[in-house]
């Protein structure tokens, strides 16, 4: 019994925070399932089981209490984020490997909950895309939702030529980076079977699902508006300026904001408080830097999406950003009436 004031406590807990994050992911996941089939759920299940096993083993090795940490929900949040960044038809062991990297290396080797300087899910994504670039870019075509065929891809022999497709971001980048194709943004976006809508068929709806859940998190005060607003704002502005300067070469803000992992990143990845900035101004700088790096890697880099690498790069800057953006405290704000 704590015998010091305050004797009243708000009924808040890490568990409630994490469960709210999981709940906020549901609308996006539902749309994801609609377009890409139940394999999404299978990936999430594989990742969740792996995460809980890895968490248990690591807690036992570190001689920590199992119950409070296993039930805090943080491992599940990491697992879901890893699963949502993998192609739904990726082989099962890819999800297992990713989650192990996230939980064992990025989380527990750095000291467990609250201690990791890097976003665990993004560490996993970066490791996987560097090690298995091909597997990580084999997305099922939108509408390929045949569960049997998907499970064959996940657990059995992979023979996917007919059903695999690049993501809209990947397809656009490949086309624009191939000189002999003489592609233009409007040409690619207008022609390709992957496209047709704003952020790629299906993708913009998934993004809107994440946006819905993210706004709910803001309303629930689990996250503040700073990071999503600065991230989406900067990504939109960078792509707007570039597309105005050269519309054939650079896709516009609507495409960039509604495609790939932008919305997931804005509300669920960049907002990880442990590895991100915490001061109001720091959050704006952190998210703006993250968005700018994302855009640069997307447009000029060799990888289909840039959020993961940008997140790790910005994670490094967090102590510096936080230190130099400390808000003025009561009575030290300068002007007095």
């Amino acid at each position: 019994m704590s015998n010091n004031s305050p004797f009243l406590r708000q009924p808040a807990s890490v568990q409630v925070v994490m469960l709210k994050v999981l709940a906020a992911l549901l609308p996006g996941i539902a749309v994801y399932i609609h377009f890409f089939g139940w394999a999404v759920v299978v990936q999430i299940a594989i990742a969740s089981v792996t995460a809980l096993v890895a968490e248990t083993v690591m807690l036992a090795i570190r001689k920590k209490a199992l119950k409070p940490f296993l039930t805090d929900g943080s491992a599940l949040v990491t697992a879901w984020l890893v699963a949502l960044t993998l192609p739904p038809i990726a082989p099962w062991w890819l999800a297992v490997l990713g989650v192990l990297i996230a939980i064992v290396v990025a989380k527990h080797l750095y000291g467990g909950l609250g201690q990791n300087p890097f976003n665990p899910a993004m560490v996993a994504f970066c490791a996987l895309i560097v090690a298995y670039p091909q597997l990580m870019s084999q997305w099922p075509a939108v509408g390929f939702t045949d569960f049997g065929a998907q499970m064959q891809a996940v657990f059995g022999h992979r023979d996917l030529d007919a059903v695999v497709m690049a993501t809209p971001l990947d397809a656009l980048r490949t086309a624009l980076h191939t000189p002999e194709a003489r592609a233009t943004v409007s040409g690619v976006l207008g022609s390709h079977a992957t496209f047709g809508n704003i952020g790629g068929r299906g993708w913009e709806w998934i993004a809107l699902g994440y946006l819905l859940g993210g706004l709910w998190l803001v309303q629930q005060r689990v996250i503040t508006w700073h990071i999503p607003a600065a991230f989406l704002g900067t990504l939109g502005l960078a792509s707007l300026l570039a597309s105005l300067a050269s519309p054939d070469q650079y896709a516009g803000p609507a495409f960039h904001v509604l495609t790939g992992g932008a919305m997931l990143g804005a509300f669920f990845i960049a907002t990880d408080p442990v590895s991100g900035s915490t001061t109001p101004r720091g959050k704006l700088i952190f998210a703006a830097g993250l968005a700018l790096l994302t855009w640069i890697i997307r447009v000029f880099g060799a990888y289909p999406d840039g959020i993961a690498f940008a997140t790790l790069l910005m994670n490094i800057c967090v102590p510096l950003i936080d230190m130099s953006t400390q808000p003025a405290v009561f009575g030290h704000k300068g002007k007095q009436p």
Binding site: N4, S5, L8, G114, P273, T278, T279, Q326, F330
Partner: protein
């Protein structure tokens, strides 16, 4: 209508005011023995004026001010002084301290009371009277009020703020006082404003006390005083001095500065009432209103004499069987009383009985996830989670850089923390650690100074001794030269050797 400024942060716990503010004020019976601690105010303890066996009258001074920041203490009833005894006082550690113990004679006979017309006396005289009437801040800090009516040459007091916010959950003694004694409160406030030289009075009351706001507004109109009664939004800790000043005037008084640096001074409504009793009625501070609430059958407000055992007071409210702790003060900033033997003192605004059901133990403490809830709840705009990092690691310099000492220990951060980290405890620890180190440094400095002084003294004595010896040698030489005679010489040398030996023997024990 005055524009309000608000403050960032704060929390809104359930207020639990209605339990205790529905009934009237009950006068607590006179206990057979009263234990009046000699230290009741912030600053220095009072100096006893009575001894065992003395007969005292109600309102008679039993202790005088023990320094410049100290006030008098008075017998709460008539009776006989049993003695000055060490006795538990209300303190988180169960501290024992000297108390004047008075056996009541049951007659409750007043000393002669001398009301004054405050507007006919010089303000210095009024301050002395306030001090000698034992008036201290009754909001909880018990700082001598007469000191707060003064200001330095670079300071000024234009606005007197009357604090009726009472933002802590459960406590309603100020609410009841404002409902029943609004006129006296404003009379006292006017006197305080007169002494301090303030031109206007602003009363801040949280808007969850509409009856108090109405009573104070009506009293202000009746008296024709230039008083503004302002209902401020209910949000803990709106009654914190700095927060209330901010809400009413927009001024933020930083750590290390005082309200008069910004033209403001703040008094609790009960302090204003005590001022009126002291000067307009000649009654020193011998009782106060105390809320007894929480896990009790009959919560309410009691007019209690200083020195009444808390156990006696609590009995009046009939604590429930499962009561497992009793707090002095509210649930946000109060402390658990280790013993109910301790008496009610001037700073006692509330006795709050608690149970496991009322204050459930928080879940297991988890690591900080830097979610920033604490920073959003902090009314001082601090970053508690950063201070926590450094306090926990005992990197105290860094904790201070993050404005540790600006923390007012209101408890909002601990209240909201999803990891259930007792953040304020870390800050209290870090502050006391820093103060202890400063004390140590001061002690070391003093020791070094003493040592250097001793070296200097020893050096000086050595030189003086050498000079004396030289003078003596010269004298002897002169004598020898005069004497010439061999026998005389021998005798002189023998005498000198004997003296030297004597001196050596004398010096030996002193060798260090």
């Amino acid at each position: 209508m005055r524009p309000l400024f608000g403050f960032t942060g704060g929390v809104k716990p359930a207020s639990h005011k209605t339990e205790s503010n529905q009934g009237g004020i009950v006068v607590a019976p006179l206990p057979p023995v009263l234990t009046v601690p000699l230290r009741q105010n912030a600053g220095l303890a009072s100096r006893p004026l009575v001894q065992a066996g003395d007969r005292v009258l109600k309102g008679q001074a039993i202790a005088g001010p023990g320094g410049s920041i100290s006030v008098a203490i008075h017998a709460p009833t008539s009776g006989t002084v049993r003695g000055i005894e060490t006795h538990p006082i209300p303190h988180p550690s169960g501290l024992l301290a000297p108390c004047v113990v008075i056996e009541a004679d049951g007659e409750d006979r007043w000393i002669e009371r001398t009301p004054v017309d405050p507007y006919a006396l010089p303000v210095e005289e009024l301050r002395t009277r306030l001090r000698d009437a034992g008036v201290v801040g009754l909001g909880g800090a018990a700082f001598p009020s007469f000191v707060k009516t003064q200001h330095g040459p670079t300071q000024r007091i234009e606005t007197l703020i009357l604090n009726g916010a009472e933002c802590e959950p459960f406590i309603t003694c100020d609410d009841l006082l404002m409902r029943t004694q609004a006129g006296q409160i404003l009379d006292g406030a006017a006197v305080l404003a007169h002494i301090a030289g303030a031109q206007r009075i602003v009363v801040g009351i949280e808007d969850n006390k509409p009856e108090a706001v109405a009573a104070m507004t009506a009293a202000a109109q009746r008296a024709g005083l230039l008083v503004e009664v302002v209902a401020v939004p209910t949000r803990y800790p709106a009654g914190g001095e700095k927060q209330l000043i901010r809400v009413l005037t927009g001024i933020e008084v930083p750590f290390g500065k005082l309200p008069p640096d910004y033209g403001v001074q703040c008094f609790n409504v009960a302090t204003a009432y005590a001022t009126a009793r002291a000067l307009l009625h000649g009654e020193p501070m011998i009782s106060r209103l105390v809320t007894v609430t929480g896990n009790v059958e009959r919560p309410g407000n009691f007019e209690v004499r200083i020195g009444t055992p808390i156990a006696d007071l609590l009995k009046l409210a009939e604590p429930k069987a499962d009561t497992d702790r009793n707090l002095m003060g509210g649930p946000m900033m109060g402390f658990a009383l280790p013993t109910l033997d301790a008496p009610v003192i001037k700073a006692t605004n509330c006795i709050l009985a608690g149970s496991k059901a009322m204050f459930p133990a928080p879940g297991p403490e988890m690591p900080c996830i830097r979610c920033g809830s604490c920073a959003r709840a902090c009314p001082m705009d601090l970053q508690p989670f950063e201070m926590y990092w450094f306090s926990r690691a005992k990197i105290l310099g860094k904790a201070q850089e993050y404005h540790l000492f600006d923390c007012i220990e209101c408890g909002c951060c601990t209240y909201v923390c999803p990891s259930r980290i007792p953040l304020v405890d870390y800050f209290r620890f870090a502050k006391s650690e820093i103060r202890a180190r400063e004390k140590e440094n001061e002690a070391a400095d003093a020791a070094r100074q003493r040592y250097e002084f001793r070296l200097e003294r020893e050096e000086r004595e050595k030189q003086e001794k050498a000079a004396k010896l030289a003078a003596k040698a010269a004298e002897t030489k002169a004598k020898l030269a005069q004497a010439g005679d061999a026998d005389d010489k021998k005798a002189l040398i023998a005498a000198a050797v004997a003296r030297a030996q004597e001196q050596k023997a004398e010096e030996k024990p002193g060798v260090e």
